[in-house]
């Protein structure tokens, strides 16, 4: 379902929580994300290569984590929002069979620019924190 409404800057308060998003991690998502991001590093599509590196299976590449974090915030902010920055600290890998839950909270607002900082955490149900960071978006003053 596409979100066609944009959140207005003035409607956002520090402390607002974004609706959580659950993402089932599958081999298809991991391989699909790696290929869609042009990242053919073998550990993201070749299980033997991932195992040679000490992990039991292929794992999600960083560009996919980036893409999911960006998507999570624009799902909420809407199509007229402009993403300015995505700052991610990476944690435990995402492997097939895991479920990642993404949550977010508005941490800061800048009235002069209409810019909002959203703190985002993606946690998987097996190994814990996969990604945490900040997505900075510019919102229109009025929707």
């Amino acid at each position: 379902m596409s979100n066609t409404k944009t959140v207005a800057y003035k409607a956002v308060q520090v402390g607002d929580k974004l609706p959580p998003l659950e993402i089932p991690i599958t081999s298809s998502l991991i391989v699909g994300g790696a290929i869609a991001s042009r990242d053919f590093t073998p550990v993201h599509h070749d299980r033997a290569a991932a195992q040679a590196g000490g992990l039991p299976d292929v794992f999600m590449n960083i560009l996919t984590s980036n893409g999911l974090m960006g998507r999570y915030v624009t799902d909420w902010a809407g199509p007229d929002a402009t993403v300015k920055k995505i700052d991610i600290k990476l944690g435990a890998p995402n492997l097939p069979g895991f479920v990642m839950t993404i949550t977010g909270e508005v941490k800061a607002k800048d009235d002069a620019t209409g810019i909002v900082d959203v703190a985002v955490v993606g946690e998987n149900n097996v190994w814990g924190m996969h990604m945490m960071g900040t997505v900075r978006v510019a919102l229109p003053k009025e929707a």
Binding site: M1, S2, N3, T4, I23, L29, G32, G33, A36, S37, R38, D39, F40, T41, P42, H45, D46, R47, Q51, G53, G54, L55, P56, D57, I62, L63, T64, N66, G67, L68, M69, G70, R71, T74, D75, P79, D80, T82, V83, K84, K85, I86, D87, I88, K89, L90, A92, L95, G97, F98, E123, V126, W127, G128, M129, P140
Partner: protein, 324 residues
Amino acid sequence: MTPEEKKVFMDKIHAFVGMEMAPPTKGPDDVNKAMIRHWCEVMGDANPVYTDEAFAKASSKGSIIAPPAMLQAWSLEGYPMHSPSKDEALLDNQRKLHKVFDDHGYTGVLGTNCTQEYFRDLKPGDQVIAHTVIDSISEEKATQRGIGHFIETVTRFTDQNGEKVGEMRFRVLKFIPNESNKVESAKDEGKPEVPTRIASPRGHDNAWWWQQVDKGVVPIQRCKNCQTLRHPPRSMCGECQSIEWDFIESKLEGEVFSFVELHYPKFPGYQYPLICAVISLGEGTRIVSNIVGCKPEDVKIGMKVKGKVEQVDEKTMLPQFYPA
């Protein structure tokens, strides 16, 4: 490595700082609708300004834009990445640097941080030129994964007019893998190991206590000389300084003396909600444990509880307390 070898290694890696990974390189494809759509399909990103031409035209964007997080995707080499050249002379400087690390045992690699800034939206027809410089290499750090160095690169992205469109700082850890980690995670082929609770520390004075718990008994240490009970286990009686002791088995009946709910950070291997409580036992000693079997908001100081020893995960036996 000997101190001399270490110095040679450090000089070798530091020589890479400030080097460009490769000359500025134009992405193999201009920004285009097909690759945008493929990306959105996988990410489950239904933002109409990425794929719906009519919507995008009527929006503040004026036309279709690329998801900002695709920035680096426009510049990647693609399929050839699956088998980098075996000819060392053909490797880019970043791969050469990684090879120096590999040759000295730092074979592990892990992305730790990625910061991308976007200076404008990219639209179909735009070209993306990437220029990556090796910005810094940290001193040696002891990390959970093993001893290693952080390498930070900066990539500046420009367009067909030489205007800056974005910038990325990327940090990887090159490390000597901890053997224990490696064996642990890869031992059950194809299946990620489910984490367990942090193992109880079993030392000279308290291992006996945990061994009883493993058998389903929660013991309370008792002074053989003056019969005073004590917990946690220790070698000497605080009342009479005797080091002779035995133990009794607790009935695990008591009340909540104090408690806290752990929210953040969540530790792998623990079930949430997670209540840690100090329980005053009927025998007179106190014990730290969990309260389970009720909602966190129903836990009250003074609440009567009854405990039993349970297997909480594949490796761990622990007393757990329920509302009585």
